[in-house]
């Protein structure tokens, strides 16, 4: 937009640019290219490995968990952000800090925490057994752990936008006779749509990529609690290289696809 004001690059800027490109190549492009080349070399083996029941179940679980996280985080993220930004209450600062906790905690630790609650001798076990529900080493634990690690993204992105746009449009809607519900759907939601899209993308990427927490709480049981990432882990352990590389490339491609969608939406 301000192209007229863009300066010609100086010598130093050129050196930095070249260094940056080298850095990105080393860290991103070379490993990705290696993955692509390896997969291309043994393409038929990769296809066979990825269409096996184990791989498909792992993919299905990963995608279902990601979709559930997007929906649940969408609902709680938006309401949570509205509460945090639009209201002043006593525990606000504490709650605000707690929201970021999943970003700071190691996922493995999170998984352990969940195990202490739902595991064999967990605190909630008698209750769950009485209800006949299995959480640990079953899909609910995978969902819970992933929900926990993806909690901040949507909420934070939406809160950022809410803070930036202020509440005067919402106040205007109220003076014009709109109910809280009407104001939310017709004024607030369209305004925070951008933040919601970014939050959702980050949630999807993180949910598909989560490894530590789901390994600890789910145990990577094939066809039951194995996700795409823990499938890769198991495949490497069993020297099933085609399966491991194939699934890794699939995840990488999905992540890149998500980022491209995000870029397009920003324009």
């Amino acid at each position: 937009m301000h192209s007229a004001r863009r300066r010609r690059p100086t010598g130093a800027a050129r050196v930095i640019f070249v260094l940056l490109c080298g850095w990105l190549t080393l860290l991103l492009l070379v490993p990705l290219a290696a993955l692509v080349v390896t997969v291309a070399r043994s393409f038929s083996a990769v296809v066979a490995a990825l269409t096996a029941a184990e791989a498909l179940d792992a993919l299905l679980l990963s995608v279902s968990v990601a979709v559930a996280c997007i929906v649940l985080n969408g609902i709680f993220g938006v309401t949570g952000a509205l509460v945090l930004i639009r209201h002043r209450f006593r525990a606000r600062r504490l709650l605000d800090a707690l929201v970021d906790l999943p970003l700071a905690l190691s996922p493995v630790m999170t998984g352990l925490g969940f195990l202490l609650l739902y595991g064999r001798s967990g605190a909630l076990r008698p209750l769950l057994d009485a209800a006949g529900v299995q959480v640990a080493f079953a899909w609910p634990s995978v969902l819970l752990a992933t929900l926990f690690v993806t909690l901040p993204f949507t909420l934070r992105e939406v809160a950022l936008v809410l803070e930036e746009i202020g509440d005067s449009a919402e106040q205007a809607a109220a003076t014009l006779g709109a109910t809280a519900w009407q104001t939310f759907w017709r004024v607030t939601l369209p305004d925070i749509r951008g933040g919601l899209v970014v939050g959702t993308t980050l949630t999807a990427a993180r949910a598909l990529g989560e490894f530590g927490a789901v390994l600890v709480v789910g145990g990577s049981v094939a066809n039951r609690t194995q996700t795409a990432t823990t499938f890769i882990h198991a495949a490497i352990e069993e020297r099933q290289e085609a399966a491991a590389y194939g699934m890794a490339l699939l995840l990488a491609a999905t992540a890149i696809g998500l980022l491209f969608l995000l870029q397009r939406d920003r324009k």
């Binding site: 449009a169 106040q171 205007a172 809607a173 109220a174 003076t175 709109a178 017709r186 004024v187």
Partner: protein, 366 residues
């Protein structure tokens, strides 16, 4: 539709931003709340609209108490300083919003929007997005949006604060014309005196959360109720003087009974005398009590600044603005071709006559 505000109080932490404010606005009136920034004007307006809850006090609209009602049920239109338009809606959808949330039939909505676009001088802009409009156009959209549901009362919070000076001038005249046409009872907040006096039927001066005075522009200018109002409104000289024999003496200068109010404080009271720039006369007189420092030509008027000898005794209490030991600065304004100006230039000695002044004892309760 009339409105009555009674004993409104609002406290933010330790600060009492609105302190026992009461007033009435008659049906069809256009009233300005005028005062320095941060004086609580906007808070009063927001409490009337229901965007802020009063700590105590009442708001009556049309003889009906409304302060327990939610903003959406008060039928009060509100125009925000920064427009607060719905960014993702077209101009037409913005204006129709207050109708569509009340399920007004679509055909009726369209007719009302078209009529308002016309009145507001926005014809042909209905399909634009707010971001594609100028500041003045946006504010007119905001006004049209507020008027669309036919509110009982229209409130405008610094409505022209965010547009540049020239557009502001235009919008002012246009708001007055619009009000004369639709007669919606309206209150607007401003810190700009010219704006308040130019548009409003009545002006209420609010400072530090208190209503200082309510009256017509002429009443506010000529009969200020408090020293604050006298000093706040217009270009004024504030001189520190003493009462003696029915006159006020400031160094060698004195203001006689003809220029002063009748209820003068007793003799030898130290007072602040507030004199408007057009209630002073200067003329060339080599034995006069003041020296001209600057003469400025401001279009159709000339402003003359002078220094009054021997005035400004700091012992007399808080000095007027800019007083020093050498004298007190005074200034006056004259029409450009006034005969009084002949011989007046920087350095010349002048005589000074005060034709009208207000007087307040120093240190007395306001």
């Amino acid at each position: 539709m009339g409105i009555r505000v009674q004993n409104l109080v609002k406290q933010f932490g330790p600060l009492r931003v609105v302190d026992d404010v009461s007033f009435e606005v008659r049906p069809g009136e256009l009233v300005a709340l005028l005062g320095p920034s941060g004086g609580g004007k906007s808070t009063v307006l927001r409490m009337i609209a229901g965007l802020e809850t009063a700590d105590s006090g009442q708001v009556w609209l049309d003889g009906e108490r409304v302060d327990h009602l939610h903003a959406r049920d008060r039928q009060v239109g509100f125009v925000f300083q920064h427009y607060a338009l719905f960014r993702h809606m077209t101009v037409a959808d913005n204006i129709a919003f207050g109708l569509s949330v009340r399920d007004v039939p679509a055909a009726e909505q369209r007719a009302r929007v078209a009529a308002l676009l016309d009145v507001m001088g926005l014809r042909g802009l209905g399909d634009r997005m707010p971001a594609q409009l100028s500041g003045g156009q946006r504010q007119r959209v905001a006004l049209a949006r507020a008027l669309a549901p036919r509110p009982k009362l229209l409130l405008l919070d610094e409505p022209f604060g965010a547009v540049d000076a020239k557009v502001r001038e235009e919008l002012r005249r246009w708001l007055r014309a619009l009000h004369d046409e639709v007669h919606t009872t309206s209150i607007f907040v401003t810190h700009d005196q010219e704006e308040a006096f130019a548009i409003a039927d009545r002006v209420m001066i609010i400072s530090a959360g208190r209503l200082e005075q309510a009256g017509s522009p002429v009443e506010i200018l000529d009969e200020p109720a408090t020293e604050f109002v006298a000093r706040f409104v217009g270009d004024v000289n504030v001189l520190t003087g003493t009462v003696r024999d029915g006159s006020v003496h400031v160094g060698r200068l004195s203001a006689g009974p003809g220029a002063l109010p009748q209820d003068l404080p007793p003799d030898s009271t130290a007072v602040h005398m507030v004199v408007r720039a057009y209630d002073l006369k200067f003329w060339r007189d080599d034995s006069g009590p003041a020296t001209v420092r600057r003469v400025m030509t401001l279009g159709d008027r000339v402003r003359v600044e002078a220094l009054l000898d021997g005035a400004g005794d700091p012992g007399a209490g808080s000095p007027g603005a800019g007083e020093t030991a050498e004298g007190a600065p005074i200034f006056a304004q004259f029409p450009r071709r006034s005969s009084l100006l002949s011989g007046i230039e920087a350095g010349s000695r002048i005589a000074v006559e005060i034709t009208r002044a207000r007087v307040w004892p120093i240190g007395a309760a306001r």
